[in-house]
Amino acid sequence: MRKAALALVALLLLLGGGFAWARLLAGGPVGPIPGGRLHGEPAAAPADWSFANREPYLLVESDAWTLPWSGRVWFLAHEGRLHLLLPSFFGDGLKRRLDDDPRLRVEIDGQVYEQVAVPVRDDAALADLLAPVVRRQFAIEIEGSVRRVGQGADLWAYRLEDPSPGSGG
């Protein structure tokens, strides 16, 4: 019985240790487990982000709360600008972090870029984003006008910008 208990404790320690490693030390998310601080090389942001569209997801890190959080999110480089797209059905964890502190670190090809997420609230700007977004993320082609139905799920959009000195939460 003592050996069984020891085996159980060892297994739990192994699982807990694995989770802690993934969450804090792995340098990014591991499978479905969010990660901590991204380990890429700091780099200056490019003027045109269109190259990022070859990636299916964008790797981002938020340091808004006590522990850094990193994960893969939907995005679109549109007209050279990087946009984050956070569907509410995936939860609002990153949105709440961005509400507290809009600064983000973005990693592409081992390079880490400091950015600030600015919410896209203007209907016209959102409509402009929507057609390429739903085409890329959902393979849906839209024709005609777009109207908000104002119920159910939402899609929070952010435009990423270079941080100005002293910006952030």
Partner: protein, 174 residues
């Protein structure tokens, strides 16, 4: 020593199921019996995510997925569909069990890839439910993206009531 290994193995297995997916983590089979999915599945529409259990031989695999209801029929969809295990499973064996609002339902997954009307209807319903917008017209892009095109490959499935006597009533967990 055997007992210790048995307990360790049991703990490991329990971490993978057998009780369906837990959030972002896939799971094994759902426990309990399922009732046939009703012909009118409108009750499922308010659910942002539902669980689906698929079959691969004697194994059961379950994940949470998007769903919508159009004209009373339940639809589920997969992004980057060919890479998803549950999609490969239902293509090989369409029998599924769904966890909707805490209850289990049995059904058959039928791929939607022929009717332009049905395709357009569910594309608009999807946008209303998950993006919060209504549009004049919409359609899913068919097939895999061509080289240089970065759109996701979406496959949609309609969930019909199960085939067989009594609509496959009370299909068990295994």
């Amino acid at each position: 020593m055997t007992r210790a290994w048995f307990l360790a193995l049991a703990t490991l297995l329990c971490a993978c199921g057998p009780w369906g997916p837990k959030g972002i983590f896939a799971g094994g089979p759902y426990l309990g019996a399922a009732e046939p999915l009703p012909a009118d599945a409108s009750f499922a529409d308010p659910e942002p995510l539902i669980g689906i259990e698929t079959r691969s031989g004697w194994l059961r695999h379950s994940v949470t997925i998007l769903c919508l209801v159009s004209e009373g029929r339940l639809y589920v969809m997969a992004r980057h569909a060919p890479t998803k295990r549950w999609v490969r499973d239902v293509v090989a064996d369409p029998r599924v069990r769904l966890e909707i609002g805490g209850r289990l339902y049995a059904g058959r997954a039928v791929r939607v890839d022929g009717s332009a009307d049905e395709d357009a209807r569910i594309a608009r319903a999807f946008l209303r439910k998950y993006v919060g917008v209504d549009v004049d017209a919409a359609r899913f892009l068919a097939g895999a993206p061509e080289a240089g095109d970065d759109h996701a490959e979406i496959w949609s499935f309609r969930i019909d009531p199960p085939a067989g006597p009594h609509g496959g009533r009370s299909e068990g967990a295994s």
